[in-house]
Amino acid sequence: MSDAAANPALVAAASAPPVVAQASIGQIFLEFLLIGATSFGGVMPYLRGSLVTKRNWLDDKEFVEMLSISQSLPGLNATNMAVLVGEKLHGALGSIAAIVGICLPGAVLMYIVGIFYRIHGDHIWITAALKGVGAAAVGLILSTVVGLSKKSLAGNFDFVFIALTVIAVNRLHQSVPRTLIGVGLLAILFHRPRNKQKESAAQ
């Protein structure tokens, strides 16, 4: 008891097992393959359940940190997370094992679906079903937009940047990179660091 009181790390270690910092290439590949094969409807919750809860390869803080890096970089969140987690566990080879594992099942499935769709895509049942599927996907993306807006915006003025981006792409037909750089720079400058201390050497 006195030991635990003297060393808070001991208490923490007793309540949550320490994070396993290493894993073999095979373990990494299989775990991400499993995530890639079972993560219907969105990868993130499965990643968290598997990496943090089941395998204990990351703690929650690391997971959130890696997720925020993944979201700021180009690339899908799921594959960026695979690269970051793989790197942490087993360097470059770990990254490769993780990204190949998470992509493989979906890639094989869509390869088969693509061939099937090409042959049977104009069957009346299938065209009717696909009209519904396309419309449902639009609803799904809109719900992601709402969810992200609630979660990751720093203030109400950010809606101006959302609107500018949409107008640039959909109305003015600007290319995505141009929009990204133009509106992105504006938004980053808007959120520029405002130092209260006078140590702002950057300005």
Binding site: L76, L84, Y117, L130, A137, V146, I162, A187
Partner: protein, 175 residues
């Protein structure tokens, strides 16, 4: 005609546009794959993307089907490497740097600035897709229905896309 070099070029370029998610690249993907290279039609692109929402794993795996159509198995592999390679390399290289920049004040600025732009790109991609996917009362009702259900209940989105297929069959089958 060998489409592999064009596939690699197009998908490597698209991969760098996927800030905040795959949908950010959708307007450009439509222009390049449908209008410039004519690998598939716009309705086909919408169908593949939407069906892809039911597949497990990262949600842009429909690109494999485009690669397969344009260049067979080799085309599919080329598209995979081109689409995931550059961003994976970038993530690998930037991750360490980004951690070191934890105390750099602009880091937060970049994150806060990119958040609304990536949401805007997602919405722009959604509107591009809606122009092809929403035509008339039934499809609009399906989209709004899915949106409202997802905002209200915690339900697996893949099931709702499947539900969309069922409603589609009921609404659009010739009587």
């Amino acid at each position: 005609m060998n489409q592999i070099p064009a596939l690699v070029r197009v998908f490597a370029y698209l991969s760098l546009l996927t800030v905040g998610g795959g949908m950010a690249a959708f307007p450009e993907m439509k222009i390049l794959t449908v209008e410039v290279h004519k690998w598939l039609t716009f309705p086909q692109l919408i169908h593949l993307y939407s069906v892809g929402q039911m597949a497990p794993g990262p949600n842009m795996m429909m690109i494999v089907a485009i690669g397969q159509w344009a260049g067979g198995l080799l085309g599919a592999l080329a598209v995979l490497v081109a689409f995931f390679g550059p961003t994976a390399l970038l993530a690998f290289l930037v991750a360490r740097l980004w951690k070191k920049l934890e105390r750099w004040p602009w880091r937060t600025s970049i994150q806060q600035g990119l958040a609304p732009v990536s949401i805007g790109l997602l919405l722009a991609g959604c509107f591009t897709m809606a122009k092809g996917a929403i035509f008339g009362v039934e499809t609009a009702a399906i989209a709004v229905g899915v949106l409202l259900i997802l905002l209200q209940y915690k339900i697996n989105p893949a099931l709702l896309v499947l539900g969309g297929a069922v409603v589609g069959v009921i609404s659009f089958m010739p009587k």
